[in-house]
């Protein structure tokens, strides 16, 4: 049984439909990432699960108990939902020490003072904060503050934790460490975690499942691999990864394959559109790492010859920019290239045609 289930949730804020019927389920040991551009409703969804936003329809179930049901008029207040919530800004209470911040939820639940102390210390220890209990939040580094926020959310043992862009306030270096730490923690504690992020790399790295939201609906949901390698719509394809986007005219379609005409070139690719688009304008999308520099080849299907415009060294690879009539393509390649024209191979199984 799912530890968190959201079904057909709808939210209207000030006359705007923010969520237009969103569903998801989540089990212990799983991390689901809510991904999407700003304004897609991902934070609203997270806050609605916590009872901080008011849906007008749909249901939310936490650990089998219905906490919201628009039709039945059930609406548990935030404090009765028993969730863990890590805020983007951490929201540590500045007037309480670290230990007091963490102990607050236990105090509310009437836990005896000595048990409180032990539990808080154990939680702080497990997060590597053992000696910081007496400090105030402003005396901690950003990474430590984030851990305190996590400790505060977990100390009373909720099964479902909600994380609102938990890594966005950390600097780039720290963020990668925190990412691994967070994933390990969720698996170790066997939590069901729902996490909002706008960073697709973060979502791919941490989540077991990604829900990509767009305009208040789930555009596509699936494992990180599915989302990255098998996007169903142009929006998903473009949102995940770095892409080349080429406009053209769709010429034919058969057996899940399609071909698109771009200037004098005819590209084959995987069809991601209905057959009634034949003869109409379409787009070909290919990831930067899908393009191969094929010098020495003599052309052929899905080969194009373009001029190298400029090159950028990215550290682990090079990015080259090529341009030809009606086509601009960026490609990753593991070395520098001489100036002039180069053959590029756009393998048909890496090209999606929308």
């Amino acid at each position: 049984m799912a530890d968190l289930a959201v079904d057909d949730l709808r939210i209207r804020l000030g006359g705007n439909e923010i969520l237009k019927g969103v569903s998801l389920t989540l089990r212990r040991g799983e991390v689901a990432a809510l991904l999407g551009p700003s304004g897609s409703g991902k934070t609203t969804l997270l806050r609605a699960v916590a009872g901080l936003e008011q849906p007008y329809a749909g249901t939310i179930t936490v650990g089998g108990a219905t906490v919201f049901d628009g039709a039945a008029g059930i609406n548990q207040p935030t404090e009765a939902r028993g969730l863990g919530f890590v805020f983007q800004s951490y929201a540590l209470w500045p007037h309480r020490t670290v230990a007091e911040n963490v102990a607050y939820s236990l105090k509310l639940r009437g836990v005896a003072a000595d048990v409180q102390r032990d539990t808080v210390q154990k939680t702080l220890d497990s997060l590597g904060l053992g000696k910081l209990g007496h400090r105030f939040p402003h005396e901690l580094s950003g990474g430590q503050q984030q851990r305190v926020a996590i400790a505060r959310a977990l100390v009373y043992g909720p099964t479902v934790v909600l994380l609102d862009e938990p890594l966005s306030n950390l600097d780039a270096k720290l963020r990668e460490e925190a990412r691994a730490f967070l994933k390990e923690l969720i698996e170790r504690e066997n939590l069901a975690a729902l996490m909002v992020t706008h960073d697709q790399a973060e979502a791919l790295a941490i989540a077991n499942r990604i829900l990509l939201l767009n305009g208040g609906v789930v555009e596509q949901a699936g494992t990180p691999q599915e989302m990255y390698n098998a996007p169903e719509t142009l929006f998903v394809a473009e949102f995940m990864g770095s892409n080349n986007h080429i406009e053209g005219k769709i010429m034919g379609m058969s057996d899940g394959r399609a071909s698109i005409r771009i200037g004098e070139h005819l590209l084959d690719g995987q069809a991601r559109c209905a057959s009634d688009k034949i003869g109409q304008d379409g787009s070909a999308v290919i990831r930067l790492e899908g393009v191969h520099v094929a010098d020495g080849s003599k052309g052929g299907q899905n080969h194009v010859k373009l001029d190298l415009v400029t090159s950028m060294f990215l550290g682990h690879t090079w990015e080259h920019l090529f341009r030809g009539p009606g086509m601009t393509i960026r490609a990753h390649h593991d070395g520098p290239l001489s100036s002039g024209a180069h053959w590029l191979h756009l393998p048909a199984d890496r090209v999606w045609i929308f």
Binding site: P77, T78, E79, G82, P94, Y104, A153, Y156
Partner: protein
């Protein structure tokens, strides 16, 4: 859906009580204005008689006209002067800015009544300056009791209100806007006219409306300076009406109050609208770094002298006169100052039991009463806090209403409410009635102080308490209130200053047990007791100065 918005019923009750507290006096006044006699008179009947009577009174129309002219004149003096002060203080390299800055706000915290006494004892017909002038220079060229003097003094003493808003608008003006104009080739004067001034227009407009509105409210200055020549404004006309017909003419007073509220309410509403636009202009960007100031060059010292002169004339002159007068036994032409110096006035003062209890009451109502007032405002503020509801919008309008009641009107209204409501009647002659009136008059101001502190609490701090399991009330108690402690302390200090300064509100409530410094000096001045009035005024100023020093020491911002 009721459980998620837990605490809603408590919020509703608080807002309902607030509404009752605000509306009861207004409704009672409205009702009284349509009666033929005081409401307690069994013969009182509903009619428009009182309106007809007042509107046929030439004195009423004269008072209304004088009030309008005073308000216009004040605005015409205060706004340019205040804007100039603000420009010199924030945008130029004028010397002595840091010394002048706290001083500029002093007139806001001084009682206008006390200032008026100060003017009378210095440049009144037998004031110190006047007498010396007569001795050495001949007939003085001024007449303190003329209308033009009244307008001038009112204008000069109200300039700090304009300064406050203009300066904060100028300060938040990003320096790069002006620099952009400089880079494209504009000279400093040109920049001021083309960029700085247009950018602070909303603030100036707002303060203009505010001053005009305050012009309708002034009571102390016209009471002291206008009365000897029979110059009445609406508030003093109302005060004089008290015994117009020999019997308490409540119905006539109620009509005058209705007129005052009818004029003030649209002005209050306008201020609210304008303040929003003004703040929108300010809120565009955060704190800007002041990069360079306009060099005044040869005008540096004249500019300094202008401000220093204004301060000397508006604050120093009357204050020194007051202090001096409180230490002489009598004063007039031909008296040698050294022969009349004495401490007797203060000795006598402390033998007068009414005066002593007025001082004690003033301090009590400012400290204990002020704390209770802030507690009430905090409860009202919390009831509206983070609650998106029609109730909150309703409460927003309700709390604005008392702003349209000048102190004297609110005091009268509360007096009537206590007279009208039988269970409250025994409390009328206690300090409680005065406290209620003060709390009503300063509701909008004090609530704004509390609300701005509440607004600074990041919503997720409260939400974090909610998700860990605290209900609405518990989250407020454990998170919100501890976080606004400093804001509440600051609000308390400001309210203390204001309560010590207050004079008009308690005028109608004055009686044994309810005397405060402000209302007592009004009545003693009418009795001609100059010695006691000047001593009490000095004590009043001393208390306020003490409070100001504490507030500045604690780093309280002197404006909400």
């Amino acid at each position: 859906m009721s459980s998620a918005v837990a605490g809603t019923s408590t919020r509703r009750v608080v807002i309902a009580i607030t509404a009752l507290f605000v509306l009861a006096p207004i409704l009672l006044i409205t009702y009284q204005s349509f009666l033929t006699a005081p409401f307690f008179d069994p013969k009182a009947q509903l009619s428009l008689w009182a309106y007809e009577f007042v509107f046929n009174e030439p004195d009423f129309w004269r008072a209304l006209g004088t009030t309008a002219m005073l308000a216009v004149g004040m605005t015409a003096i205060s706004v340019p002067l205040g804007a100039l002060l603000a420009f010199l203080m924030t945008r130029t390299d004028m010397p002595g800015r840091s010394v002048l800055e706290p001083l500029l706000l002093v007139p806001i915290f001084l009682s206008p009544l006390v200032l008026a006494f100060g003017y009378v004892v210095t440049i009144g017909p037998v004031g110190f300056i006047t007498v010396w002038w007569k001795q050495y220079l001949g007939t003085p060229f001024w007449d303190i009791y003329s209308f033009s003097s009244l307008v001038l003094i009112a204008g000069l003493t109200h300039a700090p209100h304009v300064y406050l808003y203009a300066a904060s608008a100028l300060r938040s003006l990003p320096g790069d806007l002006e620099e952009a104009a400089r880079v494209t080739g504009a000279k400093p004067g040109r920049v001021a006219m083309d960029v700085s001034l247009p950018m602070i227009t909303p603030a100036l407009l707002f303060s203009g409306v505010l001053i005009f509105f305050l012009g309708f409210e002034v009571f102390g200055l016209p009471l002291i300076l206008g009365d000897p020549q029979g110059l009445l404004v609406l508030s003093t006309y109302l005060y004089k009406l008290t015994n117009k017909l020999g019997v308490p003419s409540y119905q006539l007073m109620a009509v005058v109050v209705m007129v005052i509220i009818a004029v003030a309410l649209p002005l209050v509403y306008m201020q609210r609208m304008l303040l929003r636009t003004a703040q929108r202009f300010i809120a565009v960007r955060g704190k800007a770094v002041r990069t360079n100031l306009v060099a005044l060059r040869a005008w540096r010292w004249p500019a300094f002298l202008l401000i220093a002169g204004w301060f000397a004339g508006t604050v120093m002159l009357p204050m020194m006169g007051l202090v001096l007068r409180s230490f002489v036994s009598s004063w007039g032409l031909g008296i040698n100052l050294l022969e009349v110096l004495t401490l007797d006035n203060y000795v006598e003062l402390f033998e007068d039991s009414e005066v002593v209890s007025a001082i004690i009451n003033s301090v009590a109502i400012a400290t204990i009463g002020g704390a209770l007032t802030i507690a009430c405002y905090t409860i009202i503020g919390l009831a509206q806090h983070r609650w998106n509801s029609a109730w909150v919008r309703f409460a927003d309008y309700i709390v604005m209403l008392p702003r349209a009641m000048p102190g004297i009107v609110a005091g009268l209204a509360i007096f009537w409410v206590f007279l009208f409501t039988k269970p409250l009647a025994p409390l009328r002659t206690t300090l409680f009635a005065v406290w209620v009136a003060y709390t009503l008059v300063w509701l909008a101001y004090g609530l704004r102080l509390v609300q701005s502190a509440l607004m600074q609490v990041a919503p997720e701090l409260e939400e974090a308490a909610r998700v860990t399991g605290a209900g609405v009330g518990r989250a407020m108690r454990d998170v919100t209130i501890p976080l606004i402690k400093h804001g509440m302390l600051a609000a308390w200090l400001l309210i203390m200053l204001i309560f010590v300064r207050e004079y008009s509100t308690a005028v109608y409530l004055l009686g044994p047990g309810t005397e405060v410094i402000g209302s007592l000096v009004v009545s003693r001045w009418a009795g001609g007791a100059v010695d006691i009035v000047t001593c009490l005024s000095c004590i009043n100023v001393a208390l306020i100065s003490l409070g100001l020093l504490v507030a500045l020491r604690l780093g309280v911002k002197l404006h909400g």
